[in-house]
């Protein structure tokens, strides 16, 4: 199950969704809005997605994780719009027969999502400045 949504993420429901009698392990990852980045203070974040493509990418990630690990269920949800400090921006839950696979699959899913999914965040800093975050593009 993959989802791009404006609504707050119900991470407990996401975990429930993957819990299964054949699973011996459920791993969940939440990405949350952090206040401090070094010395800089975030007021809030705004996420934007190329929604059609992002949903397709997340579905591809799910399929690839199922090829690599003995996954029983996967749920991936990413929120877009304005998020306040502490809000959940992304939630991933994976169930597998054993914990090693579910840890690895969950880690791979969030790492790959961050590289591949066409989703962007805009920082609103406490000093009033706002900027899109584009790793590797600084100053260009």
């Amino acid at each position: 199950m993959v989802e791009i949504t404006e609504s707050p993420l119900d991470h407990a429901a996401l975990v429930e969704r993957v819990r299964h009698a054949n699973a011996g392990a459920v791993c969940a990852f939440l990405g949350t809005v952090r206040e401090m980045t070094g010395e800089r203070r975030t007021v809030h974040l705004e996420y934007e997605a190329y929604a059609e493509m992002a949903a397709g990418k997340l579905a591809e990630l799910e399929a690839e994780a199922r090829r690599r690990w003995p996954v029983i269920e996967i749920a991936i949800a990413h929120r877009v719009g304005t998020l306040e400090l502490g809000d959940v921006s992304v939630a991933i839950a994976v169930s597998c027969p054993h914990r090693g696979d579910s840890f690895e699959a969950c880690r791979w899913l969030i790492d790959t999502l961050k590289e591949e999914a066409p989703i962007w965040k805009r920082e609103r800093w406490a000093d009033g400045r706002e900027e899109w975050i584009h790793p590797g593009l600084e100053g260009r």
């Binding site: 404006e6 990405g31 996420y47 934007e48 997605a49 190329y50 929604a51 059609e52 493509m53 992002a54 397709g56 990413h78 877009v80 719009g81 921006s89 992304v90 969030i110 999502l113 961050k114 590289e115 591949e116 999914a117 066409p118 989703i119 962007w120 965040k121 805009r122 899109w132 975050i133 584009h134 790793p135 590797g136 593009l137 260009r140």
Partner: protein
């Protein structure tokens, strides 16, 4: 108490040498997709103002719209401007025994028109039926706009050389803005066709690319055979604000990342994908 729609489709341009409104999206001509999306959102009737019968794209556009369930108005001669097409559509509705309570004005060239957005705009209008309702994204006003019937009738009273945006400007205190989370509402009803639109390609922009261009999509003309590499060069030349990004960031063709050698299929969905930062 129905909300109707007027879809001015008499003057839309060409893309890749084909009339834009006949290019297929989701397996049907664009004009049919727009009509079906409106019907899906509960809009009735949908009045499409087609090109005149003596231009080549006229009869197929009229037929596609009719088949999708629209009421089609076929003018004898091509209306001078989009606003004239809208006026013809409103007049058609006015001829009916029961005119609608409100009219959506929907640019025909809206491949990303979303039934959920349309339903939301109508719901917002029903809460305050004396208001004109317009969607906004990232602080910019878009389409479609919901006009209560009385201001819709006033389109006919606008001076001949101004567009429907003037109506909204004149009645600024009656306009209710609804913030939506999709830039699909940003197409400009009164803007002339993009210079690149004839034989051109549309590229969607996100994040810093949208910010630098000041809009959510741009058009470019491309030599054929069109490739991703050619698209990068054309973007840099025709939209200098995007030159740095066009040279360095990923390009998506039909929602997949594509390398520079990739040919562009006719009607491909194109997007510039600056380095991503989700998660």
């Amino acid at each position: 108490m129905t909300v109707a729609a007027v879809v001015p489709a008499a003057g839309a341009g060409a893309r890749m040498g084909r009339p834009k409104l006949l290019i297929e999206f989701d397996g049907r001509p664009l004009i049919a997709r727009v009509v079906a999306t409106l019907a899906d959102a509960g809009v009735a009737p949908v009045v499409v103002v087609a090109p005149p019968p003596d231009v080549p794209e006229g009869p197929p556009i009229a037929a596609a719209a009719r088949q999708a369930g629209a009421t089609v108005v076929v003018p004898a001669a091509r209306p001078a401007a989009m606003r004239d097409s809208i006026e013809l559509g409103v007049r058609e509705l006015d001829r009916r025994d029961a005119p609608p309570v409100a009219v959506l004005i929907v640019p025909a060239d809206s491949p990303r028109l979303d039934a959920a957005v349309v339903r939301r705009l109508i719901a917002a209008w029903r809460e305050r039926p004396d208001r004109i309702v317009a969607p906004t994204f990232a602080g910019r006003r878009g389409h479609p706009v919901v006009l209560p019937w009385r201001p819709a009738l006033a389109i006919a009273d606008l001076p001949p050389d101004v567009g429907v945006n003037r109506l909204l400007a004149d009645r600024a205190d009656e306009v209710e803005e609804v913030v939506v989370s999709t830039d699909s509402v940003l197409t400009d009803l009164d803007a002339p066709d993009d210079p690149g639109a004839a034989g051109g390609w549309t590229i969607r922009l996100f994040a810093v690319a949208r910010e630098r261009a000041g809009r959510s999509e741009v058009s470019v003309a491309l030599p054929s055979p069109a490739t991703v590499g050619g698209l990068r060069r054309a973007l840099a030349e025709q939209h200098p604000a995007l030159a740095t990004l066009a040279a360095s960031v990923r390009v998506a063709v039909d929602d997949e990342y594509a390398d520079d050698a990739r040919p562009l299929p006719a009607g491909a969905r194109l997007a510039l994908i600056p380095p991503v930062s989700g998660g």
